[in-house]
Symmetry: C2
Subunit: 772 residues, 2 copies
């Protein structure tokens, strides 16, 4: 057990190895990856796993969900908050850090069961003094404003004075290691000491002037909880608040350092009360405080895991990797706030600025809807709150209804920039926002899917219907009518595969748009008959008249869907089959496709190589619309051409692989998805955790191997196809208000237990079963 | 020649080796020492030799003389100004720095002839890209507000985009590497871009709100002076202004980076005009600007060296070391500003906060008075401007007249703290300010000595007389009358040797106090007879009446001077001879005394070991009052007991060694003094250059080996005693308004040439000579 490496003070708190993500040695080259892997989030804020004492290579970030800023950069992005982690330990001015000292022992361990980051580091400085530093850190899921650190410091072979700097660093920037892109999103408002001890930094975002206050206190104790601090002095260092404390230390005697931090923003309380709220959180801070908070925090995680865990008997490593993905996903989303969403890299890194993409609806939302429906409800309401911005976006682009932005932050405006700066400083236009319109259908799909799974009619009537109708309306205006062929087409559009842009009649987009309109029409029908009052309210509100619905009907019936000659193979877009043939033939040691030789002579966009699932994505989403053979043909064709340049791709190929009988391949794809960050397979884990992929991993297990789906009658179906490596898989889902525990064994036998809610009819391996 | 290492672009500017202080390899352990050695000062500001790109171990400081602040620390100290050096070079986000890359070549070279810091560094990054960076830096002696950097950057084996950050860093603090002591002295006022390009930071000191503005511009040129910058963007990063620029670079092709910076403070122009003054300095910046400024700068240094050089034929190494000391001393003092003085570590480091001590009057002022009398005039006027504060200081301590503070900054108040924090955080009282009163006599000595050398009667009448009379008056009140023995004594006092404090009747103090009173009395006599109007004005101004002068006379006649039984050996203070005998018997490899064994059992203060010249210092200053034999006896006695814990000590023992016939010992002491910083003999060169020692080195050559002195008739005397190693020494001095070139050969033959001014009678080797 990894916990056996740790002292008694720590190891009693640590879970067993299947819940531990470990780092066994320090290497500056992998430090940024571990900062992402070890990021702690609690739905409110996320703090990357930077070292308290700082390292030469580091991107220390804390983000608070919803706190965005643009300033000199080209989009509103999550603003890096003051770094609250800073605890620098010195002996005679010698910083005890992995960069400055010889590392005699090194272990960091993320306990995903309890959401605690542990560390044990033994250092020798240049004078031969050895120090053992153990500790833990968490951001509380109980009081989401709190972050806490405990360190246990033991001089191994000396007596001395331990000097400690307790730091809140407001000088942080975004993209600190990229000179061309780095940007400062906050301006200092206050840097001061607190009444008795501790320090406080208040900053505001530079564009909107949103205030963020953070205060902290530090205490030094012996094991009896007695204060050890000898001297204490606060210093104001521009954007850094640094409190200096010291205490005598003795060979072999451990001292404890407790640091408690609190964050509040103008999103939480009114600006004038931010400091009071912070002070209040810190006011009772004593020897027991962190333990007590930790207790409350781990109880919540226990409950969360009770709902969210997937237990696989037969592949411990993979099981841990799956849990790792679930852990970060569920840690990031908020059960309290319906004005925030989930960034494409969670709260774990800088890439994509914390923006919500279609990733949320199609990759993450299924997990939350089945596991944490309250959280899912916030995610789908977020889109409703930004419906007006989507309406404006449609209007500005010459369309009707609501057009959701490709990238969404707090205002709902399009945050995807129109141009991109290359590493060499050259600018090239970025067409994604201009052409990649399918997100609008994806948002509608998410809203409807949430309703299907939860049966949450209140949501549908109050929020979802308006989204679905306004997006259907958008599509009706987005299609162009081709008189010659009597069909509706979409020109100049980009599908999920962004390596071909723009194209005409992207299969995925046309089909999803058609689906959106169709769901709009069904919804109208249902509302009219079952909720006539709401029907009148909604259609009046959005001025939707029957005349318009006639057009929808016409569009729906005549949407053009490009197909190959035999009628089975879909053409990803018009002209795709005419592109240069290119097939993936090799895979590297990480099971990732090797770039085919042809790319040395032909440009990528001129080949049939695609970035990610596109036609296959469509068939995954709307599976019931395509027969098995069609799915198989398309899968086999496109799988050989998909480079998985997006992390959204492998999980879809895993699930679809199972549908079409490519079981072994599906398992390989699952592994690839599950380890994408742990093994840094995309080489960009330093920039955050692949959020959509994390949701995709859950989906692959639950929708793929465990075979969960919803049929046309909106019934839950379970058709498992267990891999030979697994003996058993156990997990829980919510469906139509009930919670079920589902257990599948290696014979694909399913047992279902009703944990809460009313009895329910489900279809298991084709047979109907009443679960009560 | 070192310059042969450098490319053509650089080496034409470099002086020959005897003027070059070199660093041949980079070691973080010696980097702080080299930052001090390579500090560039111009009388207005000083900038330590930190690397433009920053290093892990660094204390990057720029000080502007006269800009002090206290804030949370315990004394007003020179506030670290925004660091203007920052130029970070990146290739694909890879910082080109000695810490981050492999060092293939390394050379830094301080040209003390021209006051230019050169560098040549060839680096290989982790991708194998090699880059040659050569460059130069200077702070102009022409426009003292300007600092300039030129870099020549050559990609050796790659093409790419060079990314450059042009940084002004206002986040700097004092004592940045000492957690217990570090303090921020400035607060940000403005951080903005300039009109077309460039950036500007304005800060103010936290206590007095003195504003300091600094702006800079950066340009990238090819050798034809064409602009190479492709992109340019300014970013406001809290207390840092960072301008990003980039340009394409090609293998083997050199590009030039020119950075020009300007500083103004509220001491220079009114607060509202600071930014305009900075902008004005930068407004015409073009390809030629730095070369032109450099030209004007080196012309001034040529002229300064023409006055200040000491040329020794026979010991090149020592000669360079002597020049090194002269260089830093003359670089720091101002010929323009009589409200500033010279800090004990020059503008080169943090220790002693830039405070003036007795070091100025007794160690540095002789150099300036003989070599740069205008600068000397500013130094002696500084004390006059702070006479009121000295009067207040006397009054507050219960004395009459003027009592100068042990440590003096801008206000003239005592800046020496009453307590000191030990590295372990414990406080102990610091008695220096309370007891070490001799500084007041030393200030009077400086004023009078300046007058003796320059014959500047205007100074004496307008400034000096008041200082001498008010300090004499202080001493008359400081002495206590002992009725029993009919003598005047000083109890509870500390002499130059601070290892015994406080003591009674310190020889040095009593004698200097007596001298002060005596000079006061002579001055009164002279004024009365020769300048009766001024006599009336001055005595009226300070209310000095004959009655008081009677007391002075009485004190002078009855000052107690403790001596040994035989009447030749002075007792450093009452009771000194009763202390535990302790003799220095060993010297380490750097020729520094080894602590005697007795210190293992007896406390230092209970032994006869002393920190520095005390009785010997007295005999050095007032040599004509003691016969040769007395001087020899005291020298031999105290030399064996002096640990040279202060850098002020070796030069005095060198000069006195010559007086008493210890010639070989004198030479050893000279070497020790000359190399004190170059070889880091005191192990604290990282904290600045030993300013008093630098003056002492000059004095040792000129007063010691060349034998310059002034006799009782105020005539210049030359009695050389050349060391066997030297063939010849040549230097220039001013005396009584004339400038003389003095040449001494190995036979101690002297030739004197009158360079300017009127003819003068001097005594050479005992014989009178008229020089015309």
């Amino acid at each position: 057990m990894i916990r056996d490496l740790y002292s008694q003070a720590i190891n009693g708190l640590m879970s067993s190895d299947e819940w531990i993500i470990r780092q066994d040695h320090y290497d500056p080259k992998t430090n940024l990856q571990y900062e992402s892997l070890f990021c702690l989030a609690n739905g409110y804020m996320g703090t990357r796993g930077a070292h308290e004492e700082g390292t030469r290579v580091s991107i220390p970030c804390t983000y608070i969900n919803g706190v965005f800023d643009k300033s000199e950069t080209f989009m509103r992005e999550l603003a890096n908050m003051p770094n609250w982690l800073g605890i620098k330990l010195y002996i005679d001015k010698q910083l005890l850090s992995v960069d400055e000292c010889e590392i005699l022992e090194f272990s960091r361990a993320l306990d995903i069961k309890k959401s605690i980051l542990f560390k044990r580091i033994r250092l020798r400085d240049e004078y031969g003094r050895e120090t053992l530093i153990e500790g833990l850190r968490f951001v509380s899921r109980y009081n989401i404003h709190l972050g806490a650190i405990k360190l246990y410091v033991t001089p191994i072979n000396y007596n001395g004075i331990l000097e400690v700097e307790n730091i809140i660093d407001g000088s942080v920037v975004n993209f600190c290691d990229a000179p061309r892109f780095k940007v400062k999103h906050t301006a200092l408002v206050e840097n001061g000491s607190l009444l008795d001890d501790g320090e406080y930094i208040e900053v505001k975002t530079r564009d909107f002037g949103m205030h963020i206050g953070t205060g902290c206190k530090i205490k030094l104790f012996n094991d009896e909880g007695e204060n050890l601090i000898n001297n204490r002095q606060y210093g104001s260092f521009g954007e850094q608040a640094i409190e200096f404390v010291d205490c005598p230390v003795e060979e072999g005697k451990t001292i404890q350092i407790h640091k408690l931090t609190s964050f509040y923003t103008g999103r939480d309380v009114c600006e004038e009360k931010i400091k009071d709220a912070v002070l209040n959180d810190l006011s009772q801070f004593n020897y027991k405080s962190i333990n007590e908070e930790l207790d409350r925090h781990t109880k919540i995680y226990d409950a969360m895991w009770n709902d969210a865990d997937i237990q696989i008997n037969g592949d411990t490593e993979l099981n841990r990797a799956i849990r790792f993905n679930i852990y970060h996903l569920m840690s990031t989303a908020s059960e309290q706030d319906d004005r925030i969403n989930i960034g494409a890299k969670l709260l774990h890194g800088e890439e994509y600025g914390g923006h919500a993409f279609w990733d949320t609806e199609l990759f993450m939302l299924p997990f939350f809807t089945y596991v944490f429906p309250n959280t899912a409800s916030n995610l789908v309401k977020y889109r409703y709150h930004l419906l007006d911005a989507a309406r404006k976006n449609a209007q500005e682009n010459g369309f009707l209804g609501a057009k959701y932005p490709w990238e969404s932050a707090d205002t709902g405006e399009e945050e995807c920039p129109d141009w991109t700066i290359m590493p060499d400083g050259s600018c090239y236009p970025c067409y994604v926002a201009k052409y990649e319109h399918h997100v609008t259908a994806d948002v509608a799909f998410g809203a409807y899917n949430y309703y299907q799974i939860t049966n949450d009619m209140d949501y549908l009537l109050q929020y979802g219907a308006e989204i679905i109708l306004e997006t259907a309306r958008f599509w009706s205006s987005r299609f162009e009518y081709n008189h010659e062929s009597n069909r509706y087409e979409i020109f100049d559009v980009t599908g999920p595969d962004e390596w071909h842009e723009p194209v005409d009649n992207n299969c995925y987009t046309n089909y999803m748009a058609k689906w959106n309109i169709q769901v709009g029409l069904s919804l109208i029908k249902m509302l009219k008959s079952e909720h006539p009052q709401e029907y009148r309210r909604i259609t009046a509100k959005i001025s939707l008249h029957d005349k318009e619905l006639e057009l929808w009907q016409k569009v729906k019936e005549h949407v053009y869907l490009p197909k190959g000659k035999d009628g089975t193979l879909f053409e990803q877009f018009e002209g795709y089959f005419d592109l240069t043939e290119a097939i993936i033939e090799e895979y590297n040691e990480k099971d990732m496709p090797v770039r085919p030789q042809i790319l040395k002579s032909v440009r990528l966009s001129e080949t049939q190589l695609i970035k990610q699932a596109d036609v296959v994505m469509l068939m995954y989403l709307l599976g019931s619309e395509f027969d098995k053979e069609t799915q198989r043909v398309n899968y086999d064709y496109y799988e050989k051409r998909t480079m998985h340049g997006s992390s959204l791709s492998p999980s879809i190929y895993a699930i679809m692989g199972l549908r079409v009988g490519r079981t072994a391949m599906a398992y390989r794809y699952l592994r690839r998805a599950a380890f994408i960050d742990l093994l840094d397979l995309q080489k960009n884990t330093r920039e955050g955790i692949h959020a959509a992929n994390a949701g995709g991993v859950w989906k692959t297990v639950v929708f793929g191997f465990a075979g969960i789906s919803i049929n046309k009658e909106n019934q839950l179906c379970i058709d498992p196809e267990m891999p030979p490596q697994w003996k058993e898989v156990i997990f829980k889902i919510h469906f139509h208000g009930s919670q079920l525990q589902i257990q599948v064994n290696c014979e694909n036998e399913v047992s279902v237990e009703l944990l809460s809610g009313k009895g329910i009819d489900i279809i298991i391996n084709g047979k109907s079963l009443r679960v009560e």
